[in-house]
Symmetry: C2
Subunit: 324 residues, 2 copies
């Protein structure tokens, strides 16, 4: 089969990749759409030390299952949680399976990803996609869930001022999700073309250069994907305010040291935030409360997946979808 | 008068420092005891860009007041909040005066400190010290309040595992304060002599080299005062756990870049924590629930204050007190 493989040096298309091995508890999935995420790009810069097939955003069809009891899943259109967990460690038993000590993560840690003709996931990770949600919408389930995770981690009281920092893939999803809250939300970014989408959605937006660093925001959500994003967030948030950190950057990307002392002086809280609830994301997609189609900048065939990564790294591009 | 002055290069004793000017809302205070804090040492490395008289931990006697209405304060023995606030900005009006936008801070920002024969503070910052608390205890009010601030910022449920990281001045206070909670508390440090105090107090303690980085602590309080403390805290705290950050170090002290990505991956919360409630600290000192006398390593005369700073920087020293 074909697969986009990162070997630790460069991503490349392997046209003769061995088919994945199906174990009893898992399903073999044929992806219909795949999404390129900033994490894929960071991995190609060495983040997580991952090698193997890239990719973790998908909607696909179950082709085979590992055991007969799961045969009803065959031909079902699915999305799926990317964390594959042991069910036995202290985190799993403590109700935090997404933090399983022995987990593998699709295309991120210890498990081949979905940028391929086929891949595997545990049956228990799968969620059937309702017929009302087409493939172009369903492929946004994973990043949209990550946006909803922020809401799970925050208490919103008294109409706070929230800045979503970053107008990229994740920032524009977060801006839409946060604007459903009882809050004054603005998206701050560097790209007028991308911020124009906020205009369309009725979400406040400002160019970073036009915004003061006034330390007056109650909450700043860092979706910049950049090493300088944290510093900007620290300057924007008010004393005793909160920074939600969605950005993962390798420390090697830092061009200046991170200064933590303002966190102490201004008693700022930083809340790390990763994967989120698929059910809420699917419900939102079903109700069309979030516009994801406008985020699709390019569609690229799997055969040209290396190009897709290159395209996704360009500043004027939002979401790149891969198709079989 | 005499004063320990930092000129941006070196601390030195100025024996002919001009007496402070007393304004109507303030009091002139003669210190009886002064405490040397890690922040004083960091300031001498350039932290906060402060120049002027150093020092912010004290117990003293009110010598003069700026207006007649305050004359009852004269001869009172006092401690005092180090944040001098405007009362008008959004932070002051919003109930967070310690985060006043226009504040000066005793010996730290825009206001001469207490390592002198006399200094000034606003009357409204002062708290009278009850007669049951002697000078050697009272001088610990400010750092002890900073330890109590942690408890104000945390919710303690279900007997969490807490590591206080650092066996220095602040760490040993925090370890004592935290051990009053319904929690399993241990102090982790590098100095057997200092950790021996925990033994005396019945507080669990371990040498850093003997402790695994198992990511199993619910809460880690970073009192290391070192640039590597944060990294150690990140490795010790469990996924979805909390790091309370008390340490302020200048980014110039970092010998390796800080990696924030584990905060995202493990969804860790970081809570910056600074000054705390003097009332709770005084109550604790009054009830002798915390042993501060064992922390006093040296007593140095103000005339030898430069030596006092040097002594306080030595690894085997805990608290250095200055006396007039």
């Amino acid at each position: 089969m074909r697969a986009l493989v990162f070997d630790g040096q460069e991503p490349s298309l392997d046209s003769n990749r061995k088919d994945p091995t199906l174990v009893p508890s898992e399903a073999l999935i044929r992806p219909l759409r795949m999404g390129v995420c900033a994490t894929d790009l960071e991995i190609c810069r060495g983040y997580m030390g991952f090698t193997g097939v890239l990719g973790h955003e998908f909607v696909g069809v179950v082709e085979q299952v590992g055991k007969k009891a799961d045969k009803d899943w065959i031909d079902k259109r699915v999305v799926g949680s990317i964390n594959c967990v042991c069910g036995k460690c202290d985190m799993c038993r403590g109700g935090l399976p997404e933090h399983c000590r022995d987990r593998t993560v699709l295309g991120i840690a210890g498990r081949d990803g979905c940028f391929a003709d086929a891949f595997t996931l545990p049956i228990r990770n799968l969620i059937e996609v309702p017929p009302g949600i087409d493939d172009d919408h369903a492929v946004f389930t994973e990043p949209l869930a990550a946006a909803y995770q922020i809401i799970r981690q925050l208490t919103i009281e008294g109409r706070p001022f929230i800045t979503v920092l970053g107008d990229g893939r994740l920032g524009l999803l977060c801006a839409q999700v946060m604007s459903q809250l009882n809050a004054t939300v603005r998206c701050v970014g560097k790209h007028p073309d991308k911020l124009a989408l906020c205009e369309k959605w009725g979400v406040k937006h400002r160019l970073l250069d036009d915004v003061g660093r006034r330390a007056d925001q109650d909450i700043v959500v860092d979706c910049t994907g950049s090493a300088t994003g944290f510093d900007t967030a620290v300057r924007m948030v008010r004393p005793r305010g909160k920074i939600v950190l969605k950005t993962t950057v390798s420390p090697d990307s830092q061009n200046q040291p991170i200064d933590l002392s303002p966190l102490v002086v201004n008693e700022i809280q930083v809340i790390g935030s990763r994967c989120g609830p698929f059910s809420e994301a699917l419900a939102t997609l079903s109700e069309q409360k979030v516009d994801v189609l406008s985020l699709i900048s390019r569609r690229v065939k799997l055969t040209d997946a290396v190009d897709a990564l290159r395209t996704a790294a360009q500043p004027d591009v939002i979401k790149v979808l891969l198709e079989p």
